[in-house]
Symmetry: C2
DNA sequence: TGTAAGGTCTGTAGGGACTACAGGATCAAG
DNA sequence: CTTGATCCTGTAGTCCCTACAGACCTTACA
């Protein structure tokens, strides 16, 4: 099989399909150096190895957990170098958890406020709405 | 008092100070037509009337309640035209409340996941971290 | 009256995290 | 051999601001 591409190498479209990642996002991650420059076919098409595929999965899972790109960069560089400890990873996770918790409490406050002003409103046909009064007030 | 600017007209900087809004944001809101083009001094400096000041307050309060720019545009156009009912405003608020509630529940799910994987981790000096295992897994 | 500091003007770039498109090359199937 | 899908590159757009540069205007004080 001359010039046959190894079975475990896939092109961008296939990687997108397998990972559920948007096609363009893969190239974007390469641009910001989150993903490495992959191998290429002779004609220039990208070829992703199993390792590349694992790395993208790592990134996508981290994003699902709400880590920012910079946080993922940290996670990856720790894991890449192999020089990480449980403690470091745990710290990063706790930091992130704290910001998630903060966001939740902010949104809950918002929710309470919205419920309150919403309850004041009869939702009828009258043109004087207490919600508007709240927004308009001096 | 020839050419004296009315006391209730203020320039951009003063409006920013009074409202707590960022100076540039005011111009931005003008650009996206959330704020009207204000009067100008002869030399071209913006002059905001009381009405303008109220409108900006309305916008800022709506933003504090998490309404998007488009939602604020809707609120404003209803209030501007005077042709709104309690019911319409209430509906918009409920819609927004729903999206806030959704965000909270999404974040809570995230929080639970992060707590779980974080708890599995001893946070010690070991190089094998269960959090990383989670991210790395096939 | 001169001048220096500070406010305002315009247009434009940057951020974060993508997403989408145009215009061309390449590939796979019939 | 042709068609249609996929791939390439570069670039622009999204959302909601924020910040800067370089010029002009205003105000306070000497």
């Amino acid at each position: 099989m001359p010039f046959t591409v190894a079975r475990d190498h896939v092109k961008r479209g296939e990687l997108a399909r397998r990972s559920g990642c948007n096609l363009e996002t893969i190239r974007y991650y390469e641009g910001i150096k989150l993903m490495p420059e992959p191998a290429r076919t002779e004609s220039g098409h990208r070829l992703y190895s199993i390792v590349d595929q694992r790395r993208l999965r790592f990134i996508l899972r981290s994003r699902e957990l709400g880590f920012s790109i910079d946080e993922i960069r940290s996670l990856l560089s720790m894991v890449d170098s192999g020089a990480y400890t449980c403690g470091e990873i745990h710290a990063l996770t706790q930091e992130h958890l704290k910001s998630v918790t903060k966001k939740i409490s902010d949104l809950k406050k918002l929710q309470r406020t919205l419920k309150t002003i919403s309850n004041d409103c009869g939702a009828g046909d009258e043109p004087d709405c207490p919600i508007v009064e709240t927004l308009i007030a001096d």
